[in-house]
Every structure is written in C-alpha cells, then in structure tokens.
C-alpha cells in the first residue's frame, strides 16, 4: 500500500471518521510531515471533523482563519442534507473547495498543499485550497540578461509563470491546458497557445507526443524535450526553451505552443527554428539597425567559432601556399621549438578552454580570481613562453572560444561542430573543412521540428526573411512567419509614419 502511486478508482472506505483517517494514514505511512487535526463543534460535540495536511506545504494562517475558525464558530443546523456539502457551501472561507470521495484527488490534494477535511458520518471529503509555500522572487534570468527590455524572468512556480504570460497577452484567445507528468513526481504542466493563431497540426502532434511520456519524474523541461524531440540522436535542439516571459509571449504571438512545467523556470516552445538561437530577446527592444548588426555578428560568430580552428590547421599544415608570406613566416617562427604537431596543440588548447569554461560555470564565484589568473597567466602566457604551444594557437582558440559564447544557446552544438570540423581538416585539409560544412548543411536542412523545417524559410527570397538574418523594423513585419501559422496577418498595414 505504501509504495502505491496510483489511486485511480479508489474511494474513501466508509462513513466512519476513524476508519477514513486510518485509511489515509496507511497511505501516508512513514511520512512524519502529515498533520492530522481532530476537531469537534463546540455547539454539538457529536459533530466530529478531521483536517489532514502536509506540514510546510500549507499556509498556516490561511488554514487557521479560513478553515478552522469558521468550522468552530458555525452553529450547525439540526437538519441538513449532507454535512460536507453544507460545510462547503456555508462554512468555508476557502476560495477553492472540492467535494470528493476519490482517493486520487485526496492524495494529490494533500501532497500539493491542500487540506483534506473529513467529517464523521460522511463518505466523502472536502479538499480545501490552502497551498502556501515560499517561492523564489521574480528576478532577471542570469542566462538571458538584456541591457534594454523587460527584466522579469520565470521562477519555479508554474502559476506565477502563467500569470506572467497572461499579463502580457490579455485575451480569452490565450488558452491554458493543464497536464501532469511523472508517475512519482506528478509534475503539473500547462500548454499555452493562442487558439486563433496556433498551427493545429503542431498542437495535435505535440499533444500526441506528450501523451506517450511515461517516466517517474520530470524535474525540468529538458526531460520532456528529450522524450518528444524529432531526431533523438541529433546534436541540434529541435525545441526552444527560454526563461523570459516576454520571449514566450512573442513566440505565442507567432503561433507557437509553450509548455510551462512546474518546478522549473525553463519554458519550452515548439515548433523551433534554428534561427531562434541567434535571435536575442533584446533584438526586439533595440533599434533595428543595431539589432540587425548584432544578429549578423552572432551568425558570423557561429561560423567563425565552428570553423576557425579547422581553417587554421588546414592552412598551416596543408595549404601553406594560401598564406601570405609574412604570416607564414611568423607562424613558422612561432612554431619553432614546439614539440607537438599543430593539431595536437590546438586540441590541447581547445580542451583546456572548455575546461576553463566549465570550471567558471561550476565553481563558487568567490574563487573567480584564481581562475582568471590561472587561465590568463599560467595557461596563456606561460604555455607560449615554455614552448608548449605556439602563440597563434592561443589567438585562434581565444577567438573560437569567445565567438562560441556569443550564441550561448547553441553552445554545445558549436563545440561539437568545432571538434568535428577540426578532425576533418586535420586529415583532409580544406577539403575536409568543406565536406564538414556541406555535411552540416545537409544535417540542418534535413531536420524538422514538429513538421516545420528547422531552418525555416532561411533560403527564401529576402522579402520573406525579415526576421532571419536581420531584424526588420516592426512596420515591415506585417505578417507572421508563414511556416508557423496559417493566420498570418500581424498588422493590417505597416503603420509607418508617412
């Protein structure tokens, strides 16, 4: 009984209060946070009640003022049809009262901060909303900071997160559908979409895939993302994820579906276009010239970050004739006395860079000084001076590393592509580099996200790519992206000042 998760179909056993309480106790055996409070009405001692709740999950003030106080102060009439019904209708101050004898609802209520009220002589119970626990305050998400634009970020409470989305899109067209994941965790989740804009095929497909999930727990949206993504083995994400309500709102308005999961600030959105990783949230809050420049730089940074080490190795070890003579001379001078082949040098430094990055992300902030000294001095300066690596390698790795961090959401993919390119280039020279690039394009253009091509309309003519390589001014973006929705009119006319 104790290890059972599912109470579908189970009911409270009888009308006797003691038996019912005992039954619930047996369900929650070995759980010391469970509080059981017996009461009886001061006006009629035959009226016995029992409150059961999980300590720490409830708001105690709410419980005292809105549940216990009215219960003890109410003068129960002699005649009534059903005690629980009377209490639900006339006594409780609580905003949400459910009358049920379903064990599933009772158990879920208790573990989710509700209080269960049992009355002697009744075969059903009242589940009262007394939820109350501390959540993190609303802060700006660390990973998606902006200089200009809204600074609210999601926190771990789904309802708070939903309220942030609703506050941005105030229309009944915005739909919220609750779901539950995880046999053990019973994590609440909510599908959000704009009914008139959303692509119904995508929505159905998403619901279908979500229905297949059978796992004991989903602690983050990543669990769900990995379980339902299009190409399970692909290194490219096919589902978007963000911590910013304004981003989710923007994506909903373009016809995407969002899934908010309780317990994590990460909200996933589908369908996903690769370009979303290059679209900074700030792009839409900044002047479009500047935003476009930033976006072009980010795309360029991805190409550089994935290609530069490979190109260096190809040029320095296969195609010296492409290098201008002074550069060739200075590379050759720098290489003099370095014991390892170029490819080993660059692999070594790339791995060291990734280690530094990983350390920086994991270590306590107070030790930051150490990292910068070790990173900059010991590994950069000293390695060159000691002729373990040559100076151009440091520059190449530095540039590749920094440009890689310019598109943080593609970070892992960038690293993977960088090493693959490097391996190809070190065996085949520039041919290898080109094969790598071609393979990358084939991979990316062959991928779908919920029936929508991952690369979106990036190959279409410029007229249709107003939000791909650049961020066009708002008065130009009259329609929504056509691969995302059939309801395309965003503005009836571009309301530019004439």
């Amino acid at each position: 009984m104790a290890s059972q998760d599912n109470f579908k179909g189970a009911k409270l056993p009888c009308e006797k209060l003691d038996a019912n309480v005992r039954y619930i106790h047996s369900v929650f055996s070995d759980d010391d946070t469970l509080v059981t409070r017996f009461l009886s009405s001061p006006f009629d001692s035959a009226l016995k009640f029992c409150l059961i709740y999980a300590n720490g999950m409830v708001n105690n003030k709410l419980l005292n003022d809105d549940v216990i106080r009215p219960l003890l102060q109410y003068r129960f009439p002699e005649e009534h049809d059903g005690l629980t019904r009377l209490i639900a209708q006339n006594v409780m101050f609580s905003d949400d009262v459910k009358q049920t004898d379903d064990m599933e609802a009772i158990v879920q209520g208790i573990v989710y901060g509700d209080t269960v009220l049992l009355a002697d002589g009744c075969a059903d119970s009242l589940v009262l909303n007394t939820k109350g626990w501390n959540t993190r305050s609303i802060e700006e998400p660390e990973s998606e900071r902006v200089l200009r634009g809204p600074r609210e970020g999601f926190n771990e409470s789904m309802l708070v997160n939903l309220s942030m989305i609703r506050r941005r899109i105030r229309t009944p067209d915005l739909k919220f559908r609750f779901l539950t994941f995880g046999r053990k965790t019973r994590t609440k989740a909510c599908l959000c979409y704009l009914d008139s804009v959303v692509n119904k095929h995508v929505l159905e497909e998403l619901k279908k895939r979500l229905a297949t999930i059978d796992i004991d727990g989903t602690l983050d949206t990543e669990y769900i993302m990995e379980l339902i993504r299009d190409k399970p083995y692909s290194p490219v994400e096919t589902i978007g994820s963000t911590e910013r309500p304004d981003v989710v709102a923007g994506r909903l308005l373009e016809g995407r579906v969002a899934l908010v999961l309780d317990g994590t600030p990460q909200v996933m959105t589908v369908p996903f276009l690769l370009i979303e990783d290059f679209q900074s949230d700030e792009d839409y809050c900044l002047n479009y010239y500047f935003a476009s420049l930033g976006r072009i730089l980010r795309i360029l940074a991805f190409l550089i970050s994935t290609g530069l080490p490979a190109i260096y190795v190809a040029l320095a070890t296969f195609h010296q004739d492409i290098l201008p003579a002074p550069l060739l001379i200075s590379i050759s001078q720098a290489r003099d006395g370095v014991p390892f082949p170029t490819i080993l040098e660059i692999l070594f430094m790339l791995v060291v860079f990734e280690m530094l990055r990983e350390t920086g992300a994991r270590m306590p902030g107070i030790m930051g000084q150490t990292l910068s000294i070790v990173g900059a001095l010991v590994i950069g300066q000293a390695a060159v001076t000691a002729k373990i690596v040559s100076a151009p390698i440091i520059i190449i790795v530095g540039i590749a590393g920094i440009t890689g961090l310019m598109v943080p959401r593609l970070k892992s993919f960038t690293i993977l592509v960088r090493f693959t390119m490097l391996a190809l280039a070190s065996v085949l020279g520039l041919y290898g580099f080109l094969y790598g690039r071609v393979a990358l394009l084939i991979l990316l253009y062959g991928m779908d996200s919920f029936g929508v091509p991952l690369m979106g309309n990036s190959t279409e003519k410029l007229k249709n790519t107003k939000d791909i390589y650049i961020r066009a001014p708002w008065w130009m973006m009259i329609t929504r992206p056509k691969e995302l929705t059939k309801n395309r009119i965003r503005q009836n006319r571009g309301s530019k000042k004439k």
Binding site: F318, Q320, Q333, D336, T342, T385
Partner: protein
C-alpha cells in the same frame, strides 16, 4: 536495409578520403621557406649549379623572436630539377618555393638561352608565376645570395622590397615576373629584358643594387643598357611610374629637376605601303622639384619655356636610346613588332622573319609633351 545504408555511407566516407582528399600534411617548421634562387653553370662537371637562400626562422632556443636570418644552400645537377632535388637533400628539410621571390641568372646561363632553365619554374606547382627574374652582372649569380646580405638578413627579401619601390623612386628598374618573361619569350614581337643586379662596393663590403637592364635576343642574353638608357627604355615602353627628370638643354648652365608624377607613352605604327614608321608620343606630368640657380629661372623664363626645354631633351635622349638599341643590339626590346602585330597581323606575318633587319632601320618620330603642374614654392616677398 539499414545495414546497407550504413555500409553505403561508410563506403562513401572512405572514398572521400582516398579519392579526393589531399595527403600533403606538412608542418610549417619542417620546411624551409625559399626566398630566392640563383642559377649558375656547374663547376664540378655538372650542368647547373643552384644556390638558394632559405629563411632561417629558428630562434636558437631563446624566448624572444629573433630577426629572420638568411641561410644559403648550394648544389649541382645535370638539370635544374636535379639540382633542386639535391638541395632539399642537403637541407634535410622540405624546401618550399611557394614564397620564392626571385630567380637570378648568371650572364653565361642567360647567354646560353633561358628556355631550358625556365622550364622547371613553369612546370612545378610550387614556384609562382610572379617570381621576379634578374640577371647578375657579377661573375656568378650565386654570389649575390652568398655575399650580398649586409647583416645576415635574407638578401632576397631586401632585393624584392627594393624592387617594389624602384620603379616609383628612380624609374630606372622595372621588375619582370616569370609570366611576363614567358610572354616575351613566346609571344609576338617583343624581345625580353630583365633588370640587372650587381654589387655596390663600399670600402668594407658590398651591397646588391639594381642597375641597368639586360637585353635578350630570343632567349639569349646579348648585352646591357646602362642606368640612363634603362630610364628612357622604360619611358618608351610606358613602364615609367616615377623618378626625377633633368631638363638638360642648360637654360642657365644648371639642370632643373622635374619630379615625374604621371607619364604615359603611346606608340603607334604608321604603315604606308612597305614603309613603316613608329610614332611615339610621350606625355609627362611633373612637378617643379628643384632648380640649382640663383636667378629664379622659373619666374624669368616662365613655365612654358622650361616645359619646352624638357620636351626637347626628352625627345633627344629617348631617340638616342632607341638608336643605341637599334645599332648595337638590333633586338626589339621596345615591342614595336608587337604594336605592328596588334595593328596589322597580316603585315606582321609577312615581315616577321625579317623583323630583326627591319628593326635596325626602323624610323621613329618621337614627340613629347611635358606639363609642370605645380612649382612647389611659396615665394617670399622680394624674391627675384
């Protein structure tokens, strides 16, 4: 089916490597960058002797990057290619000719004909078509590389750097690159010339300098033009891009220097029946650079007069140069034949076999237009 797919993909990937990949993996420090080569006659019974200057980039273990030093290697062979191969063997490193700046021929190699010597450079993938070619006026070509360097710096880099600027500084030397040389040798109607290189001798050593022009007949070296002749030779072939022109004609016993800013030459054959004359029009824009006189010639004579002086002497000296080449060498280094070929290919076909004789007797009408665009001096009050 799945296994078949995987097998196909793997087979394609493997053939990618073996059929199209390139396998010339080469670390930069395992090769010597050749700055330039010199080709001489062999001395130990071999046909050719090749001297190469390579860039020695090793720092000798010190932490600082030391300045680049030149290092000279020599070897001999029956063919240029054999000598080059022997050079690599001697160096114990791959020699890399992709950045080879120059090839210097000795006079006796050049006199024997360049076609055979050039073949390796034209055929091998590494040396580029932009290698500059020179003729050494010293005993051998190799000694330019051997003795030339003033302080251990690679001499080839110094020479090629000097050559880049020579045309605009002095207007007396013009680089000839391999493809241009090929055009001279195998194209129509212009004999080859190469810039000369020789030692400038000091009390305590030598330094290479560019001086004069080597004249070829066919692919064989037949003589030299000196500094002044080279200057006017470059004028007539429209290759001048700078330098100082002295007006001469002695307006007041002193020369006036005009700095050439822009010059262009138009050569046009005038054909009437069997009689061919070359019309050469030189136009030169100059600035008034210097007058060695206390009499303020510019003010007294006026710009027009000085321009006329300059025009007169330009016509005279250019004429003398053409004359010298015609009488002394009879080799059409000015490319008059090419001009005729361009204008009337049929006529060219007829006279081509006899061209050398025709060239000797060819009449030239030279005219010049000199413009002084600025005088470059703010006259103080009372300056007379």
């Amino acid at each position: 089916m799945r296994a078949f797919k995987i097998f196909t993909a793997a087979a394609l990937a493997v053939s990618l490597v073996f059929l199209t990949g390139c396998w010339d993996y080469q670390e930069v420090e395992d090769m010597y960058i050749v700055g330039g080569i010199a080709i001489d006659k062999g001395t130990q019974g071999h046909q050719y002797r090749v001297t190469a200057e390579v860039l020695d980039l090793s720092s000798g273990g010190s932490e600082k990057q030391s300045p680049i030093k030149g290092k000279v290697l020599e070897s001999e062979g029956e063919t240029v290619s054999e000598a080059i191969a022997a050079l690599s063997h001697r160096a114990n490193k791959t020699l890399y000719y992709g950045d080879c700046k120059m090839v210097i021929f000795s006079r006796d190699i050049a006199a024997d004909g360049l076609s055979g010597v050039l073949d390796w450079m034209n055929r091998d993938p590494q040396p580029r078509f932009t290698i500059q070619a020179y003729v050494s006026q010293e005993q051998t070509a190799g000694e330019i590389l051997l003795k030339g360097s003033p302080n251990g710096q690679p001499i080839t880099l110094l020479i090629s750097k000097a050559m880049e600027k020579a045309a605009s500084y002095s207007g007396k030397s013009q680089a000839v690159e391999l493809y241009q040389l090929d055009n001279f040798l195998w194209g129509e109607g212009q004999s080859a010339t190469l810039p000369d290189i020789r030692f400038h001798r000091y009390e305590d050593g030598v330094e290479p300098e560019l001086y004069g022009t080597a004249v070829f007949q066919g692919d064989r070296y037949i003589g030299e033009l000196d500094d002044q002749e080279s200057f006017y030779f470059l004028f007539i072939t429209d290759n001048n891009s700078g330098g100082i022109f002295l007006t001469g004609e002695k307006p007041d016993d002193k020369d006036i220097s005009l700095k050439i800013r822009k010059s262009s030459t138009n050569v046009e054959p005038v054909i009437s029946g069997n009689n061919i004359r070359m019309k050469i029009k030189i136009r030169m824009e100059t600035s008034y650079d210097e007058e060695c006189s206390r009499k303020n010639l510019l003010k007294n004579k006026g710009i027009k007069t000085i321009e006329q002086y300059a025009e007169k002497s330009l016509v005279k000296r250019a004429g003398q140069t053409v004359d010298t080449v015609q009488k002394k060498y009879g080799s059409d280094i000015f490319g008059f034949g090419r001009k005729i070929y361009e204008k009337d290919p049929d006529l060219w076909k007829k006279i081509k076999p006899e061209w050398n004789r025709h060239f000797r007797d060819l009449k030239c009408d030279i005219s010049a237009e000199v413009v002084i665009t600025d005088t470059g001096f703010a006259f103080p009050k009372g300056y007379e």
